[in-house]
């Protein structure tokens, strides 16, 4: 046993040495050689090579140890649905634990805006917006398995619907809300029609292109969308014509978002265990078998895109009302990537997971502002680590179980 461990250990050492040698070789031109243009000499910084070598050796060694453990952990978790559960998973699936947890969350959500500053309430409102966006995208990506990288286009559709309707016709927030959702849904169906035959990577590429095209159109079609300068002066949502100051308006928007979140969770949850929800899952699992079970693939795909983009439209309208200003810069590919990250990190197909994912991904960077430029780097590292150690996300979706009373047994 101990000799086996020893050989394994040596094997790891050997590989780590190889890795560090490679790194020293690859980084040689940039880390060691330096041309000093002032004195016209070349400096050789051999110490840097040593640092690189030692650093990459240690990292590689630790990495190997950890990823070995990660793989074995993943093997265990394959037999999920029963068996060993992640503690968050237990919190979700056991009523005894989940009800008090839900109560605590509700209390926190209720009092949050009264004990924190406008700044923090604003951040939380943004996070809640991403919760809804994540849940919406989850219908397309997590449930129907259609990788959509242009989700931001529907978000933009909602925002611009409100902005333009207000600008031209003076339409208010509450009328714009359903119209924005409708615009996004229509756009979703329009996108779905040409991509019906595409799967996997090809679908991802086309939707990516679609997102970028939408942004470029908004940027360049000055007569329609007022170009890069965007549309400003969009009113915040009203409440029976009441005058609200900055703080009140922020709190009001926060509760509006809480309400929308609850509605979203309610609807998405009900969809999940319905005939339509199951059809979406079947489409994700096996397209041919799904059709062979009598499911109209075209209809299901259109439904998935329509259902997913509706939420983006709703949030888009709220976004426009929150910032009182829209321009194309808010709807870059990075937004789509962010929302997708929320879904993947949280756990595709799991409502709780996505809520946690959205809160983590939106709130953490805000509170990590001290790290400044390294934020995105940290973000990337977290994503890579997640993919290695927990590819199914923070919380995996658990399927509904049914009870039967068997008389004969």
């Amino acid at each position: 046993m101990s000799t086996l461990n020893y050989t394994k250990y040596m094997e790891g050492m050997k590989q780590a040495v190889v890795v560090s040698l490679w790194f020293m070789f690859l980084t040689f031109p940039i880390m060691v050689i330096r041309v000093n243009t002032i004195e016209n000499i070349i400096e050789w910084r051999w110490m840097n090579m040593l640092y690189i070598g030692a650093g990459s050796f240690i990292l590689s060694f630790v990495w190997r140890k950890m990823s070995g453990r990660g793989i074995s952990a993943r093997k265990e978790s394959i037999g999920a649905q029963g068996g060993r559960k992640f503690y968050l998973q237990r919190l979700v699936s056991e009523k005894r634990l989940s009800l008090p947890a839900l109560g605590i969350v509700a209390v926190i959500a209720l009092f949050f805006p009264f004990v924190s500053s406008i700044y923090q309430t604003n951040i939380m409102t943004t996070a809640l917006m991403y919760v809804v966006l994540g849940l919406g995208l989850n219908i397309v990506v997590g449930q129907a398995g259609l990788l959509n990288l242009g989700y931001v286009a529907f978000y933009a559709a909602g925002a611009y619907t409100y902005a333009l309707l207000y600008h031209h016709f003076g339409v208010g927030f509450w009328l714009a809300l359903p119209l924005g959702a409708l615009a996004a849904t229509v756009l979703g169906v329009l996108l779905a029609l040409p991509v019906l035959r595409l799967q996997g990577d090809y679908l991802a590429i086309v939707t990516l292109g679609f997102g970028e095209i939408t942004r470029l159109v908004l940027e360049n079609w000055n007569e329609f969308s007022y170009g890069p300068s965007g549309i400003s002066g969009i009113p915040r949502p009203g409440l029976f014509g009441m005058e609200m100051d900055m703080h009140e308006a922020t709190v009001y928007l926060y509760f509006l978002m809480i309400l929308l979140c609850i509605i979203t969770i309610f609807v998405v949850n009900r969809l999940q265990d319905s005939r339509i929800g199951r059809a979406l899952l079947a489409l994700r699992e096996d397209e041919i078998a799904c059709q062979a079970m009598g499911i109209n693939k075209t209809m299901v795909k259109l439904t998935a895109f329509a259902l997913g983009s509706t939420w983006a439209g709703l949030v888009g309208v709220i976004f426009a009302a929150k910032t009182t200003f829209v321009n194309p810069a808010s709807f870059t590919f990075l937004e789509s990537a962010m929302i997708l990250s929320i879904v993947v990190l949280g756990g595709t197909g799991s409502i709780i997971g996505i809520i946690i994912g959205a809160l983590l991904l939106i709130l953490l960077p805000e509170y990590l502002r001290a790290f400044g430029d390294y934020r995105m780097l940290l973000f990337g590292i977290i994503m890579v680590i997640m993919m290695i150690f927990r590819p199914q996300g923070i919380v995996t979706g658990v399927r509904k179980t049914y009870e039967f009373h068997t008389e004969e047994k």
Partner: protein
């Protein structure tokens, strides 16, 4: 007796390859019909043409459901074929691995139910009654198939033999009048094969669903079938009862090569 499934002159070309060459097949109601042939003979291609996965390059397919008239189903969509009452299983198991066993069967009820998005959100009375009926019927089918202990298990965790039975259960949930089984006994042990044989017979006799199967297990085919078709190189070689097929020199040649007949 009018056939419930007819293939007339059915041809399927992939580029220059004739996977099916003017094939005629009749499937009679209340029977178990088998389609046999060496590997690559075009059996699965034939199934794929019937179920709409391929659009045949020539010929026609007709169905005659027990209650309805004769209907042409050549080249219609996959889901339309199932809606019309022809269900199938696959050579390589194609269950939905990350859904529960019961949900797999519930998917089969999709084309016989109609709750939409609004119903799912509002959970009105009609939707809930329908949902309950779906669960009840699915469970009933699973009970008949003999998978009652693992209804809430993810389908991927079922043992191999049970996964094959689940696929049959799922196909039965679509209320077919004809069930196409593509190598249902592949990879099964002798005991599982015997259970499968009993199941297929009960599908014919108790469920009153005609069965059309592709199979390599000759003992199973000969013991089970009412009539057998033999295919080779995309052409129909012979048809007849198991006895006739067993003695047909051409069939023996196709299976065992030239020298045996000499």
């Amino acid at each position: 007796m009018n056939p419930i499934l007819e293939a007339k002159n059915l041809s399927m070309n992939f580029g220059g390859l004739k996977a099916l060459d003017r094939v005629d097949i009749d499937v009679l109601p209340g029977q178990i019909t088998a389609l046999i042939g060496p590997n690559g003979a075009g059996k699965t291609t034939f199934f794929n043409c019937i179920t709409g996965i391929y659009s045949p390059t020539g010929g026609d397919i007709f169905i005659t459901p027990s209650g309805g008239g004769r209907k042409k189903i050549t080249g219609i969509n996959i889901h339309k074929v199932t809606e019309n009452g022809v269900a199938r299983t696959f050579q390589n198991i194609r269950i939905f691995p990350d859904m529960t066993v019961l949900e797999n069967v519930m998917i089969g009820r999709h084309c016989r139910t109609e709750a939409g998005v609004l119903g799912a959100i509002l959970r009105d009375k009609g939707t809930m009654t329908e949902e309950k009926a779906i669960v009840a019927r699915s469970y009933e089918i699973l009970k008949k198939i003999g998978i009652t202990e693992h209804v809430n298990l993810l389908a991927r965790n079922l043992p191999y033999g049970a996964q094959r039975r689940l696929e049959i259960a799922r196909a039965l949930a679509t209320d077919p009048f004809l069930l196409l089984l593509d190598e249902p006994a592949a990879g099964m042990n002798p005991q599982e094969t015997r259970d499968l044989e009993a199941l297929i017979i009960s599908i014919r006799d108790e469920w009153e669903i005609s069965v059309f199967l592709i199979e390599h297990d000759m003992r199973l085919v000969m013991g089970l079938s009412d009539s057998v078709y033999v295919m080779d190189y995309g052409e129909m070689l012979a048809r007849g009862t198991p006895q006739e097929i067993r003695q047909n020199p051409e069939v023996i040649k196709a299976y065992l090569g030239e020298d045996v007949s000499a």
